[in-house]
Amino acid sequence: MRIFYLLKKELIEIFRQKEMLVIMFIAPILQTIILGYVVTTDVNNIPVEVINLSKNKAAYRIANRINRSDLFDVKKITNQPGDHLKTLKQGKAKSIIILRDRYDKKRKPLAYPEIQILMDGIDSNTSVIAAGYFNGIARQFILEDMRKKGFELPVESQTLIRFNPNLKSINYMGPGIVALLLTIISMFLTSITLVREKEQQTMDTLLISRLTPVEIYLGKSLPMALLGLIEMGIGILVVILVFGIPLRGSLLYLFLASVIFLFAILSYALLISTLCSSQQQALFFSWFSMVTFLLLAGLFTPVENIPKGLHWIADINPLQYLIKIIREIFLKGNGIEYFYKDLLILGAITVTVLTLSLLNFKRLVSK
């Protein structure tokens, strides 16, 4: 029952620090909401200039469609040519659509105009998506127009999108953000409070007491895991209530995955704290590992995009597995039979890192 006293002490310490409470309970709500709105790969309201140099009707109608679409914020429609490069440089528009007449061999104007899309490629993602939108609009218009005239295309592919039919990025990002929060809180707090004990020299007292390193680890991690789960609960509520993301799978599995994940990440925190002797060092180390974990977690970019040489980091990155599992549970409603392998890997990571850090823990405290 010695561990009970460790837990009690830890919780008292956390609840007596007002700043800590704010960080723990207000920040996650705000962060989920802010991140939910900001971290989005949806592209809309792209600032556009349309330059219609064509006299034909189709060109006029295409320009009109672009103007009406929510995807674009049409700054200007004109029939005067201008200095396109300057417009892009000034950032007045991210893309410029130029519609020109096309002629056949006999210099007779064709039914459909030539469409030229000029893109500001700095934000490559947006550019590619925007270009896709333009093509879609133009194609759609031409198809409809041709049908009216009685032509049919011989082949047409149809796409059916499952799980996230509107391709809303918040559905994809939201659950990931919850996992992210869980990482930030548990990793930072645990490594900092562990190192603080070293600084206060209370760690010496703990070590000289009859507590075993495993007990000390559990005494630190259990309260953090508990708080982590509460945070996670808040995050999930925000994601469901504010963003309307459906939770199709079981809450129980979500909980199970989070618990296993928490122990994995807390083992990393312990490893960090055995390597650091001051709170600043611990802060730096956890920040650094967190950013690495974050970038290689498949949250912003798919794991498949990670260069081969860095794949091993992704493989030992607990966040990657949690994000995958969380998304599956939320959007696909998957049961454990789909992700039990990921859970096993998480478990293996926990055991390995924990063993490493406990060995290190003993060695480091008795240098």
Partner: protein, 245 residues
């Protein structure tokens, strides 16, 4: 046996990299004595205590506590040693009573015992203060609470690392009175200090400098043998002797 050596330290050495913090020191501590460990900042006092208590790995040499080898039997040794570290090592955000509960709890005391200890400290310190966070109370009281917590499992051997640093003279005297009480109760006590005028309180002193023992013996005998009036002078002489050698 009248002077049973409860702790035997033999050629104890600690190296940090190429630097010898403690360099082949040997000494014994007798059961029931107060041993003063004197030395300036950086002399190697804390390092020595930490090796004896198993908090630091020993580079070379041996330490036996009640015949048990620190390198191998630290678990058994923990059962009868108490340690108060240099910074008092209490939790600043917890109150004194909470700290007592915590340290009692982790040393495996039953709830009833802990309650008894909490009762006991209210005889020495007003409850109002005991219910304040450690970070808000004066160092003199912190020191008392720290000593109290390290005595809770009722250890036979007590290591106190600079217990009087940052404490005013009156509290310092009170503190030494408590140490005497402990001695009367049969405890063996190792106290470090860089305050030379505290030497007289100890039964025996060891002066350590740059990781080496440069004098050891009873304070009064040491002074007499070397014809010195004060510990300060003795210490200066010892250092010059050591450095000219």
């Amino acid at each position: 046996m009248q002077f049973e050596d409860i702790i035997r330290v033999n050629e104890l050495t600690k190296k940090f990299g190429a630097f010898y913090a403690v360099n082949r020191i040997s000494f014994n501590i007798r059961r029931g004595e107060i041993l003063g460990f004197l030395g300036p900042n950086g002399a190697g006092k804390t390092t020595t205590i930490k090796m004896i208590t198993g908090l630091l790995r020993i580079t070379s040499g041996n330490v036996f506590v009640k015949g048990l080898n620190v390198k191998k039997q630290i678990k058994q040794i923990k059962a009868f040693t108490g340690y108060m570290s240099q910074k008092f090592s209490l939790y600043p955000l917890l109150t004194s009573l909470e700290n007592i509960e915590f340290f009692g709890g982790i040393s495996g005391l039953p709830r009833k015992e802990i309650k008894k200890f909490q009762q006991q400290i209210t005889d020495m310190i007003p409850v109002k203060i005991l219910k304040q966070k450690i970070m808000d109370i004066p160092p003199g009281i912190k020191q008392q609470v720290a000593l109290f917590t390290c005595l809770m499992p009722d250890p036979d051997i007590i290591f106190l690392d600079e217990p009087t640093s940052g404490v005013d003279p009156k509290n310092r005297r009170d503190f030494w009175m408590q140490i005497y009480k402990l001695k009367k109760a049969g405890k063996t006590i190792l106290v470090t200090t860089h305050n030379l005028d505290e030497a007289e309180y100890a039964d025996r002193i060891i002066i350590i400098h740059n990781g080496k023992i440069i004098r050891q013996g009873e304070p009064s005998t040491l002074l007499k043998n070397e014809n010195m009036d004060s510990m300060e002078d003795l210490f200066k002489k010892a250092v010059t002797d050591h450095e000219t050698n």
